[in-house]
Subunit: 417 residues, 2 copies
C-alpha cells in the first residue's frame, strides 16, 4: 500500500484530501475478487417484484433507521424530544420523517382550514391570514439547518456520556424550508415605529412563545409552509412555523398562531425558565440567538464498529448560525496534528455541510476529532473554552469539539481531550 | 391597488420580479382584518397533543398528497410508473416517498448483506463489492434531478391531454444523491485501453440494462447509496443504483448488480426497443443521453382552481441536463410578452430550480407559459420545434414549452399555443 505514504496529511494515517482525486486506491480487506459465481442470480431476480404505490417507504432492512433517544420530560403528555440518527445518515438533507422533535406539550392536531396566523400589537392594521391568503404571497425556499439549543448538552457533564451521535448530538437536522418572508406580511400590517420586537406564539396547548428582535425578522425570517418540498410535518409545526435561519430552534415557533409586535422583549416563560445560559458568577446571559460554529464526525462514531484495519472514510457534518462553513479540519492523533477535510459540493449558508477525510487506520487506539471554521472566521472552540465561566448547571449552546476514541477492537466511544 | 401599475413587467398583469422585494403588497380578497375573536383558542389548544415517535408522517389533512397516475404497462407484474404530484409541492427537493417510479418488472426485495456489485469485462481485476466494501471509499453527495425520458410524452399527441402536472409531467423529481464515484471503483479494477463503454445491469427480474459511454462515467457518475440523507428507497434502487447526473432516468440503472466494461454499445433490449427517437424519415436517433432544458408552471396548473381575481404567485420548476438554469421567463398573454421570473436562492447544476413571478389576474381568460434558458445558452423550444422532423410515433425526450389556459371561472387546462 505504497500509495498511502505518498499523500500523508497529518499524524496517525490521516491522508491528504487530494487522495479523493486519485484512482486505484485499494481498500484492503473489504475488497473481493469477482469470479464466475459472482454473476449467479439471487432469488429476488427470479420473478417479478412489487408494483407501484402511492407512497414509497424505506426497505424493511432499514427498520433500525429511526429517531432515537426518545425522551419524555417533566410536563404534560408529549413534552420531550426525539433525535435524528445522524450516524446512520449521509449527505446534508434530513428525511422529514427523521427530523428531530422537541415539544412542550405534544403535537396539536390542527385543521388547516380553521388555522389562522394573526398579526397584531404595534401595527397599523391587525391582520388574519388563512393558508389560502398566504399562498398568494411570494415565497422563498432555502436549505438550512435547525438545531435545538439544548443539543449536545450532555457534553457539559463532568464525565463523557456514552451514546450514539443521535443520543449525544441528534437535536440538529437540515431541510429545505419554504415559505413567505415575514417582512412582507409585517409591512402589509404596517409596523409602528415603536415596534422593535415581536412575540411569536404557537397553537400547542403550551402556547410556546418567544421574543424575536425586528432586525432578524426583516433580515431572513419566514413563515414556513413547506419542508423538503411538501407541507410541514405535524411534528415540525404543520401547517406553519416561524423559521429563523441559523438561530436556536426554540425560537422557530411551531404551529405559529400569533405574531404580536411589541416594543421590548417580553420575558415569556419559555425564554426565562429555559434557553438562557447561567454563568459561574450567578448571572445568566439571557439571549443567545445564533447557534455557534460546530462540527461532528458521524462515521466512525459510537455504535458503528470498525472492521479490519485499512482505509476508512471519516465523514461528518459542520454548520454555523453565522453563515457558510469555510473549513473543516480533522485530526486522527487526538489533536496533535490536523488536516483539511474535503467538503461536498453544496456549501450553503446556515446549512449542514458534509465533510470527508481519508484515513488509514492501522489498528492501534486512536482519537479522532473535527474542528470547523465559518466564513465569519469563528473557529469551533474546545470543550474547555465553552465551559469557561459557565455554571455547572448550564446546559444550552454547547458547540465544543467532539472527540471519539477508537479502540484496538474497533469500538468507538466518547472521550474528553 | 396603485402599486401594481408601478412595476409592470409584461402583458396581462405580469409584474416585475422586483415586486418581490417590496413590502405592503395587498393580496386583495384573501386578506382578513384581525379582530378580538381571531385570538380565540381552537379546540386543539385545550389539551396536550400527541407525543414523540420513531418516525414522523404527514398530517392526516394531507392524505391527497400522494404519487398519482399510477399506470401499469404491458409486461410482468410491477411494470409501469407512478408520478410525483408536482402541483402540490414547492421548493426543489422531492420527498423520497413521492419520487416517481418507473419499473420494468417490479421492485425486487433485495437483502443488502447478500447483494454485490460486480465489475467485470475489459478490466485487469474483476471485482466484487459488498456494501461494507463500498462504505470505505470516498463518497460525494449532490442535489440533482432525475427525469424519465418518457416524461411529458403526452404532449406529442395531436390534441392537448387533460390532466394535472403529475399526470402530464410527473416523471421528474429531485433528491440529494450520495455515493461513490464509479471512476474510483473502475480504476481500482483497472480499465483496459479497449474499454470505451460499459453495460450496467440491474438485479430486477427484467435485468434492465443500458450502455453508457466511459467519458460520462469518468466525469460524474456515482454508485448511489443514499437519497435525501438515508439509504435509497426500494423503488429507487435499494441498496444501490447508477446515477448519471442530467442524463435520462432509464440509464440510471436501479438495483445495480453488474458493470461490464466493453468496447462498444451493446444494443441491449432496453436501449433499442425503447428510449430512442423515431424520426419522420423512418430513421431513429438511437442515443439521446442528456435531458434537454425544460420548465413547467406548477401553480396555477390543472386541478388547482384559481379563486377571486387579484394577486397570485406563479411558481414552477426548471431544469437542464447541461448544467445550471440561467434564466426563466414567464408570459401571461400567451407568449406575446415575457418577463424574467425570480429564481430561488439555490440554483445548482443539473438540479430543479424553483422560479416565481407575481401576477395580477384580472379575471379574464389568460394563457400562461414559462421558458427556461440554461448556462450553455440553450433555450427551451416550442412544441412545434420539438416535433419538427419527428415521427408521430415518437414519444421520448419532450421538453417543449407548456401552456396553461386560465378560464374566467378560474379553471386551468392544458392548451397548445
Amino acid at each position: 500500500m505504497a500509495e498511502f505514504d505518498e499523500l500523508p496529511a497529518a499524524g496517525n494515517g490521516l491522508l491528504d484530501r487530494r487522495f479523493f482525486l486519485r484512482a486505484g486506491v485499494a481498500s484492503g480487506a473489504a475488497l473481493m475478487t469477482a469470479s464466475a459465481s459472482s454473476l449467479e442470480r439471487q432469488e429476488w431476480m427470479k420473478g417479478p417484484g412489487a408494483g407501484m404505490s402511492e407512497a414509497g417507504a424505506p426497505s424493511s432492512h432499514e427498520s433500525h433507521v429511526v429517531r432515537a433517544s426518545i425522551g419524555s420530560l417533566t410536563g404534560t403528555t408529549g413534552t420531550g424530544a426525539s433525535r435524528t440518527p445522524l450516524q446512520l445518515l449521509d449527505g446534508i438533507i434530513t428525511p422529514s420523517r427523521l427530523h428531530f422533535e422537541r415539544h412542550h406539550s405534544g403535537i396539536p392536531d390542527i385543521d388547516p382550514d380553521q388555522h389562522r396566523l394573526v398579526l397584531h400589537g404595534l401595527v397599523e392594521r391587525p391582520l388574519s391570514f388563512s393558508l389560502d391568503a398566504l399562498a398568494r404571497y411570494p415565497m422563498v425556499s432555502r436549505i438550512q439547518f435547525l438545531e435545538c439549543s439544548g443539543n449536545s448538552g450532555a457534553s457539559m457533564a463532568p464525565e463523557p456520556a456514552q451514546g450514539t451521535c443521535a443520543a449525544l448530538h441528534g437535536l440538529v437536522s437540515a431541510s429545505e424550508w419554504g415559505g413567505v418572508p415575514l417582512s412582507v406580511l409585517l409591512e402589509e400590517a404596517g409596523v409602528k415605529p415603536a415596534g422593535k420586537w415581536l412575540i411569536a406564539e404557537g397553537a400547542d396547548s403550551a402556547m410556546m412563545s418567544r421574543s424575536v428582535p425586528m432586525d432578524k425578522i426583516m433580515d431572513d425570517a419566514i413563515v414556513a409552509l413547506y419542508q423538503n418540498g411538501e407541507r410541514l410535518r405535524p411534528s415540525n409545526g404543520y401547517p406553519m412555523r416561524l423559521f429563523l435561519p441559523g438561530w436556536e430552534g426554540n425560537m422557530c415557533v411551531k404551529w405559529l398562531r400569533t405574531i404580536k409586535v411589541v416594543d421590548q422583549p417580553s420575558m415569556t416563560k419559555d425564554e426565562t425558565s429555559k434557553y438562557s445560559d447561567l454563568q459561574s458568577d450567578g448571572v445568566s446571559t439571557l439571549f443567545t440567538f445564533p447557534m455557534g460554529v460546530k462540527s461532528l464526525i458521524t462515521s466512525p462514531s459510537p455504535g458503528l464498529s470498525m472492521g479490519a484495519p485499512g482505509l476508512y472514510q471519516i465523514s461528518g457534518i459542520a454548520w454555523s448560525g453565522a453563515g457558510k462553513i469555510k473549513r473543516v479540519e480533522v485530526s486522527a492523533d487526538g489533536g496533535k496534528s490536523w488536516a483539511d477535510a474535503a467538503l461536498d459540493a453544496h456549501v450553503m449558508p446556515k446549512c449542514l455541510t458534509r465533510f470527508r477525510s481519508a484515513w488509514r487506520w492501522e489498528g492501534s487506539p486512536a482519537v479522532i476529532l473535527s474542528r470547523a471554521t465559518d466564513e465569519s472566521g469563528s473557529i469551533q472552540p474546545t470543550r474547555e473554552t465553552v465551559l469557561k465561566g459557565r455554571s455547572t448547571a448550564a446546559f444550552y449552546h454547547y458547540n465544543g469539539i467532539q472527540a471519539w476514541h477508537v479502540a484496538e477492537n474497533g469500538e468507538v466511544t466518547n472521550v474528553y481531550v
